[in-house]
Subunit: 252 residues, 2 copies
């Protein structure tokens, strides 16, 4: 097995670049960090192009089928590749596979309309997974699905739900053509308390930008616009929190 | 009005220290940053010891009653005092007033058992406020209520709910003596789906540490232990997300 001790190694330099969107697109690959995420990717049947790991991971059972792709790295290299202050020491170069929309409506959909904060995006995907939602659509202005902070915050749920990056309007049209209700989340005079909507097997839920809410154009496309009644004096809820409350209600 | 141009000014040095717990305790004060938070503090009737603001805030109507406490600072000083990359330029030295428990049970209670991440703590307080919970108890091992990141994430809800920092066991005992149900949130064989519990006017809800959950000692004190049924393959929910789902159910 190859051993790389120096962060100046060409392969390591190339791997490090795969945390940046431009180079990810050029190489059609991205860098995944951390044992849990690498394990989840392999469990999901994704084929790593290369795995870089410090010595302590080399004997892991889950890595045995990938011995040919495995390269040992020094702790110094791990530190260089890492996006976190305390790196675990394992990284995988994975194909940048983007999901595609199912042709027929399949399960429930969470639609992200311009969610900018990577932590929010990741938490939304993780929460959608837990609530039993199968499709998460990253609309315009949403943080990239392969952004290192998004990857980390999704905590492996990216390998359980189908993530598609595409314009939201055609998705909404597809859902509506299939008689699936599409809910917006913007407080306006016609908004309905989420508690007054019955749980359904199929639905689309749109959540909007942290500061500006959802786009007016999409808002006009929705069937019903939901709001969460605020009891106290808080002015708003974090977008991931609000979406969680509505998702767990709709999937009850 | 005094004008301070240099970050080396003694008052500025002292104010900067009031972001650190040790000096906060010594001075019985803390530094609050940002227009929204300062405004909420003043609205809540809290008396600032000193307000440091760049020129553009000096004419704000809400600051007029505090003209005696107002000091103009340079943008350079604002940058020095700030905990954020893009400071707004307003800071208040506030008395470090800690809440006290009401003698009789008042409203519903959220009990934080060792929540370490300041963002989670702040989001929990903000969400409790929105759900109509009046008491938030910061138990042992929970991030400090005057930690700058906690202050920021609470987004002003610290001035709407009553925050008390104290051991949780006596609070649980007080609630139970008043016949108020106390719910834990730990997945175990006896846990009950949160959906099977009826909303009530008074309750206590304990949420536990991000990694280790709630302490076993407190767990034994609870009446019922709640869990959120996970539909997908996600292994867990973020603690603030989980608490939000349960809080909005219990306060419905």
């Amino acid at each position: 097995m190859e051993y790389i001790a120096s962060p100046k190694n060409e392969h390591i330099k190339a791997a490090k670049k795969l945390t940046v969107k431009k180079y990810q697109k050029q190489g059609d690959a991205y860098l995944l960090e951390g044992w849990h995420l690498v394990e989840e990717a392999l469990k999901a049947g994704q084929q790593p192009r290369r795995i870089y790991a410090i010595n302590k991971f080399l004997e892991e059972r889950a890595l045995r089928p990938y011995y040919e792709q495995l390269t040992e790295i020094s702790p110094e290299v791990a530190k260089h590749l890492s996006e976190t202050p305390t790196p675990q020491g394992i990284f995988a170069v994975m194909p940048r596979v983007t999901g595609t929309l199912p042709e027929a409506v399949s399960g429930s959909y969470l639609l992200l309309d311009g969610i900018q904060d990577p932590g929010n995006v990741g938490t939304l995907v993780r929460t959608a997974d837990a609530a039993g939602i199968q499709q998460v659509i990253f609309g315009d202005g949403t943080a990239d699905a392969f952004n290192p902070k998004v990857l980390r915050a999704m905590q492996g749920s990216q390998f359980h739900v189908n993530i598609t990056t595409t314009a939201l309007a055609p998705v909404i049209a597809q859902l509506q053509a299939a008689q699936v209700p599409v809910y917006g989340t913007e407080l306006n005079v016609n908004a309905k308390s989420y508690r007054d909507v019955q749980p359904t097997r199929h639905f689309g839920l749109i959540v909007g930008n942290e500061g500006n809410g959802m786009s007016q154009e999409l808002l006009h496309q929705t069937d019903v616009n939901l709001y969460i009644p605020i009891r106290g004096e808080a002015e708003s809820l974090n977008v991931a929190i609000a979406a969680a409350v509505v998702m767990f209600h709709l999937t009850a």
